[in-house]
Symmetry: C2
Subunit: 199 residues, 2 copies
Amino acid sequence: MGEKVAPLSRLIFQFERMPGIGHKSAQRLAFYVLNMSRDEVSAFTSAVTEAHEKIKRCSVCCDLTDSETCAVCGGVSRDRSVICVVEDPRDVMAIERTHEYNGVYHVLHGVISPLNGIGPEDLTTKELISRLSDSSVKEVIMATNPTVEGEATAVFLSRLIKPLGIEVSRLAYGIPVGADLEYADEVTLSKAIEGRKSL
Amino acid sequence: MGEKVAPLSRLIFQFERMPGIGHKSAQRLAFYVLNMSRDEVSAFTSAVTEAHEKIKRCSVCCDLTDSETCAVCGGVSRDRSVICVVEDPRDVMAIERTHEYNGVYHVLHGVISPLNGIGPEDLTTKELISRLSDSSVKEVIMATNPTVEGEATAVFLSRLIKPLGIEVSRLAYGIPVGADLEYADEVTLSKAIEGRKSL
């Protein structure tokens, strides 16, 4: 195309705005769309519209769902006395994949990050605290990411929760399974030594 | 999300089918869509639908356009006696960016590739040959990629075109400007020596 063809450059521009998509990838995706069948295009656009319209936050844990409460909060076999606090719905997916955790979740939808102007009031802090007023909750596991912001958020929330007489725990730090000690960073390695267990 | 939320997994699946998008990227894009405003979503879906509906092939050169002929073929200052044959609309974009070429194009929409079952009849070969029946065309530049298939396609087409008394040329091979000789592959380097010019 010599000069820009308007509908195509609009489409490229739309893809280019998405995270992790540069100009070349946006072009590739736009050309892929042009080569789709009419049915494929309508399946794609309706998937976009439908997901955007139907997916909302679970009224209990703020995870994403297409019904009133999510599958975990609605699950009969879940232990509601343990709440695992995560940053993001993807973190719930990751923990669920382990098939090891049987409690429920609370999704913060972010972390406290003063540099980006995100305070506790921008997260689902209020919803979390109101869930804890129910005396059945015995433990809150802080599963925010091991970053500066994730750490600060975990500390901030634990100071709010501990006075309620609820146990607050944090995910264990250590060397990832299958990793090579040689390549582990110093902080991780010293955390791993600190948290060592007797065999 | 514990179990899969249907509209979301459908959206992830749709993104995952696109070229160069793996599962993680598809997830990232789907979450980006969920965080878009309603207006952004409709701008995105209408860009997709509109591009797919409106963009067709130029009736002359088979490049993509949203009108009957593309901007190059409709351009008044273009030299219609030279046709540059390329594989893909993106190649037209690349050549136009040089601002050095003033002829017109012909887009093959692929290359001959027996392994993938693509023969000359799957490309716009017929359209190219019918353009050449007009005696005003003096030269055809083969600008297919310097790959095995691109090369074979150039040779195949030149055998069809030369008997018509039209000059056929091929893009020059050589070392790319700004590259380091040390890292040039042997074939490129020997082509560069072969095609040397006097200073």
